[in-house]
Amino acid sequence: MLEIKDLYAGIDGKEILKGLTLHVGAGEVHAIMGPNGSGKSTLANVLAGRPKYVPTSGSVTYEGKDLLALPAEERAREGVFLAMQYPVEIPGVNNIYFLKAALNAVRKHQGQEELDAMEFLQLAREKMKLVELDEAFMNRSVNEGFSGGEKKRNEIFQMAVLDPKLAILDETDSGLDIDALRIVAEGVNALRSEKHAVLVITHYQRLLKYLVPDFVHVLADGRIVKSGGKELAEELEQKGYEWIEEELVAAR
């Protein structure tokens, strides 16, 4: 589904991803772990098409298409979803209006019929229950005045409604209490199927107890330096990231 080959990318001329290669197949859940500043968010944002994050070489193929050639909205319509590390507040843009517009843009692109207000509300209500978001949130402005946890749940709610083929979660677990963590994991688990792939970016192993990955990768200094099964996450939890860096240094 997603094929990242030798990807280099940076922000403001500063190189951050330095030859990253990763293969994600349909139906798989991959966890990407790594120390702060290793480039996890950069990877997520390059995949989502955030303008500041500029790929300089390498390729990303998504379902056979050159993903990097598409503007952000086209990627979303093709089924790529990024749950952001820091969801932005957008005063004056109504949550439900925004999400309906987004869903219908996606559906239209995929040749599906657009949902009318009633159909959309029904779907939204169902997904709200899943992430235990109060309906009152829907009539507020996007993320405005939401607590940190509410913002993260709103990301998962949007994901549930948009039903992306490739979901990328950028530290959605950070700052969440255990209940919220469980809700987020349930939201993602509900999406799991042979057709969906998930890239879970996390700093801690906590979330992976509820959301068991098929593969775990360690990102350090802009590259995947180690890959393994779910045991790798536990090892990282116990030993921290230093040993990987030491291993890297030793290998040079």
Partner: protein, 435 residues
């Protein structure tokens, strides 16, 4: 047709049939003042951002024909309680509906109200032609306008609509001077909507005096949606008595050269005022918002919020002054101007100011100028919303703070539609795109 100004730059006042002696005198004094003051120039502090050179170089005519036909249509259909339509400064009787069947409401052409007690008491008492040349011009030259009087204790559900249609061209540049008086009696409640639009080159010079009696609740809306070749100079002069509550909203989307003066005097204890404005400009539009809020009496509140959205080569001005007089203790006042610049060539001048003459007040003011939030833009796009739609959503969101507060459904919906249709269509210059 008659010329506004003759060659010697002296103004001869207009007179209308049945004009009482007092009105004649006021007109003559106003004309004299205009001849002394002359057209405003950028040398005066109050006009430093706006040159009227392009206006004063045109030989404006007054159109005294009676409008006929059925065009144009009101945007509100039959929703207003009463509606007066003026075409090039003259009442279009066929297209106007008075509110005769409503007890306590008098809506009529101002020429027919000149003998009433209330007219005699209030007319030209608040809009100051001694100091303000354009008010002097209006006071000398008005031919028509609306008179609205709400009896004490009368609560008007719905709204009264005053609609002004202008039209002209280079050969027949027409000037219209409208003059309105709105008197809301003690404890009454009323919403008045004024809308301006038209085609081609013309000049609207309008003055509306509003008197809010003790405890009266008055909502006033001004939709300035003139043609892009039109000149519009308007003054809304608000006089507030004890415990009155006035909301003034000025929505400017049209006009080539526009000056919106909104002035309020809070003269009775406990009066409160909310003064809001929104200007959405593109092309070469020039819109100068000039406001004065004068706190005369103690314990009054005022909240002022003006928001500007400027694209292309538009120029917007917010020049707002709040005066707190020596006796106006316990004044609460807040003044805010926020602007969104959508192009690198749009210009905004923001000049909020406070002039406080006693210590016992709570006042603050501030202004901001910003661009569209790139983070928000990306967030919307990352969910599948196209770049242009995302941009429009954010621009609209900026405006919605003002629109959403409009209490009358029909007015709010109309404002929303008008804004959406005026939304700048161009994408930002610095559009950053993924490769």
């Amino acid at each position: 047709m008659s010329t506004v100004l003759d060659d010697r730059f002296t103004l001869a006042p207009v007179h209308i049939d049945g004009e009482p002696e007092r009105v004649r005198r006021i007109r003559e004094q106003a004309a004299e003042r205009f001849n002394v003051l002359g057209w405003p120039t950028t040398r005066s502090e109050d006009w430093k951002y706006t040159s009227l050179a392009s206006l004063t170089s045109i030989d404006w005519k007054i159109d005294q024909r009676q409008p006929e036909g059925n065009d144009p249509a009101s945007p509100f259909g039959d929703q207003p309680v009463a509606e007066l339509m003026f075409v090039n400064g003259t009442l279009h009787a066929n297209r106007s509906a008075l509110a005769n069947e409503h007890p306590g409401i008098r809506v009529m052409p101002i020429g027919e109200a000149m003998e009433t007690e209330s007219f005699t008491q209030h007319f030209s008492r608040y809009a100051d032609y001694e100091k303000h040349a354009m008010t002097a011009l209006n006071t000398a030259m008005w031919q028509d306008g609306a008179y609205i009087e709400i009896a004490p204790g009368t609560v008007v559900e719905g709204f009264i609509h005053l609609l002004y249609v202008g039209g002209g061209n280079a050969e027949h540049p027409i000037a219209s001077h409208h003059r309105n008086l709105i008197v809301a009696g003690r404890g009454s409640q009323i919403t008045v909507v004024e809308s301006f639009f038209g085609k081609g080159t013309y000049f609207t010079n309008t003055v509306t005096e509003i008197v809010a009696g003790d405890g009266a609740v008055v909502d006033h809306y001004k939709f300035e949606n003139e043609s892009l070749d039109a000149f519009h100079i308007g003054t809304v002069q608000i006089h507030q008595e004890r415990a009155s509550n006035v909301t003034s909203r000025t929505i400017a989307t049209g006009g080539g050269l526009v000056r919106n003066e909104i002035n309020a005097a809070l003269t009775g204890e406990g009066a409160s005022l909310s003064m809001e404005g929104l200007f959405v400009l593109s092309g070469k539009q020039h819109v100068d918002n000039h406001t004065v809020i004068d706190h005369v009496a103690p314990h009054c509140d005022s909240v002022e919020l003006f928001k500007g959205i400027l694209d292309e080569n538009a120029r917007g001005i917010f020049d707002g002054r709040i005066i707190v007089e020596p006796d106006a203790v316990k004044t609460n006042s807040r003044q805010t101007n926020k602007n969104l610049l959508l192009s690198e060539t749009a210009v905004i001048d923001s000049k909020p100011s406070l002039e406080i003459h006693n210590d016992d007040v709570k006042c603050n003011h501030g202004s901001t100028i910003g661009q569209l939030d790139e983070e928000a833009l990306f967030y919307l796009r990352a969910r599948g919303i196209g770049a242009e739609e995302a941009r429009n959503l954010l621009v609209y969101a900026f405006a919605s703070e003002i629109v959403e507060r409009m209490k009358v459904d029909a007015v709010r919906e109309n404002a929303g539609r008008a804004l959406f249709s005026r939304m700048p269509k161009r994408l930002p210059e610095r559009r950053s795109e993924s490769r």
